[in-house]
Amino acid sequence: MSGGIGINGFKFLTARRLSVIGFSFLFAFILSFPFEGQVLYSLLDLREIKPSGYILAAIIAHFTGLFTCGMFVRSKAAAKKTVLGGMGICLAAALPFFFAPSFLWMGGLIVVGYVSGCAVAAWGLFLRAFTPKNERIKTCADVLIFSNLLMIAINVVSMNRSPLLGLFLSVLCLVVGMVFIGMMPAGPKNIPDDTEVSKARAGIKYPLLMLCLFVFVITINSGLMYQVINPAFEHLTGLTSWYWAVPYIAALAIIRNLPMKAKRSQILYVGMAMIMGAFISFIVLGRSASDYLIVDTLMLAACGIFDLFWWSILGEMLDYTDNPVKPFGIGLSANVLGVLFGGALGMAVTSNNIPGAEVAVIALTVVCVTLIILPPLNRQLVLLLKNHSYLSAYDNMSQSQKTDIIFQVKTLDPLTAREQEVLQLILSGKSNRDIAGALFISESTVKTHARNIFSKYDVSSRAELISTLLKNQTGK
């Protein structure tokens, strides 16, 4: 799909590029306006309105949009309608902000938050349909880079020229985005027909839950930093307006171009070191322009690493479900929730009139605690995702191959005939309850057999067992 066939006679405009460009414009609008955007802050500041209520309403609405979209969008045609319709509604709902404040501001912001959330979640379907699995990290990086570049331009205008001009540019992004999204192909077929959906029967619930936890933990730090570090450099408006997201974009560009075999978990550790370095620099250094450059570079580059890390995992996960809109929306909603929670945490820390250095120490402690959770979470997540691909490969094997597998890995003690039976069903991706039903035994019996099987293969979990038995079979 993402080959060289052009759309409407433009060879350059493949479906993948159209979706990247269109979505980047939509995302630039969201980042610059409803989702804690500089345009919104500047407009509220211009009208001397307290921003917290508006920001909170927009974030909650955005979260709801992301979370619920998967319930009603299930085909490419519906996704295209949702993205286009959502952008149109955003356009209309943003118009009152050109005029004096009224109830339409709050109402409009809630509507914009909700429909923009739906539009973002619906794009998950195009991400899967137009980008091959191993290229999704690049597509995600492209979207994040382009949208952040656009956001920087809008921020500079909004902070240094006029907030209304910034709003105009945000809205212009929507119009341009709609044109590109409109050019995207959208067949009437339902999702499973379009791409090769994994036939693995194991549910995506657990990996998705793990990913959400992972994203939530990562983004708590971002939300916390916005609240703790940003106010300390408020006096450097000229510099912060354009430099803020530059390290973020640079980090995205570097990771985007890393070879495919580069170990992502190691990059995660680099990000963790950088974020701790950012907080330590914030405590040790002053508040001058050069200090800002150091702190912001470390902090935002780490954010770039983290964001692309979980976006790419989310992109991979889209193959394991019939409806990619749902996991994509839910995964991104965990990000929004993390930002909200981190922001609230940051606000609680900063609003108690504690001296600046102590605030930074408290924030650093929170960051350290959350970062400790990341490596085991990442390990679990990677294992679960690997297992999904292993299980789909197992599904495609012949019966004799399936039987051979359990004898190819050495055990501490031979499996009994009953344990072999249970193991075959575990490798088919069946849950304990399903196995119990299939073998007419109780669920606790299945659990006991499973525990004995783990012990014989010297593994500690089902995920590890699947990984041990099937990793050599799939050529991965």
């Binding site: 009953r418 035994i441 006991t448 004995n452 783990f454």
Partner: protein, 169 residues
């Protein structure tokens, strides 16, 4: 099993009563008595927990029965009839004799495991244990048909991987 369940319920009740008493006495400033009842509650809670685990294992053994021997009719005294019947169950995960449990195959390769089984005309001899201790148990099987014995041996092999030696048939 009924006896285990009864014991569990009794200890749970005692633990609940102990907690209520400890809280009431604590509120009335009788701290020594509150401490004593608290200790009783804690002890009862631990015993209830132990009985719950026993009950879980007994259920697992009963659910995976290979040979089951009911007490002959008339062998249970009338006054005992409503209590625990002395049914014997040989299973994938152990032996249940009334409320007495012998376990194996519940904790993987490093736990207690069934090592050997032998069936003669009257009894089944089971040897099980871990690296430290081995137990040999004799259980009346009550089987009278050759085919029933063969079926039981086959099922024992299927479930536990142990081939039972059959003698005297």
């Amino acid at each position: 099993m009924k006896r285990i369940r009864k014991r569990r319920n009794g200890f749970a009740l005692l633990a609940a009563a102990g907690i209520i008493s400890a809280v009431s006495l604590g509120a009335a400033c009788f701290f020594e008595a509150a401490f004593a009842f608290g200790a009783i509650a804690f002890g009862s809670f631990l015993l209830a927990l132990r009985q719950t685990l026993l009950l879980r294992d007994a259920t697992l053994i009963r659910d995976n029965r290979i040979i089951s021997v009911s007490p002959p009719p008339g062998s249970i005294p009338v006054k005992k009839k409503n209590n625990d019947t002395e049914e014997t169950v040989v299973s994938t995960f152990g032996v249940l004799i009334g409320s007495k449990i012998y376990r194996w195959g519940l904790s993987g390769v490093h736990g207690v495991r069934l090592n050997c089984a032998c069936i003669d005309k009257e009894r089944i001899y089971l040897t099980f244990g871990d690296a430290i201790r081995t137990i040999r148990l004799e259980v009346l099987h009550g089987m009278t048909q050759n085919q029933t014995v063969l079926d039981a041996a086959q099922k024992l092999w299927y479930e536990t991987g142990i081939s039972a030696g059959i003698t005297g048939w």
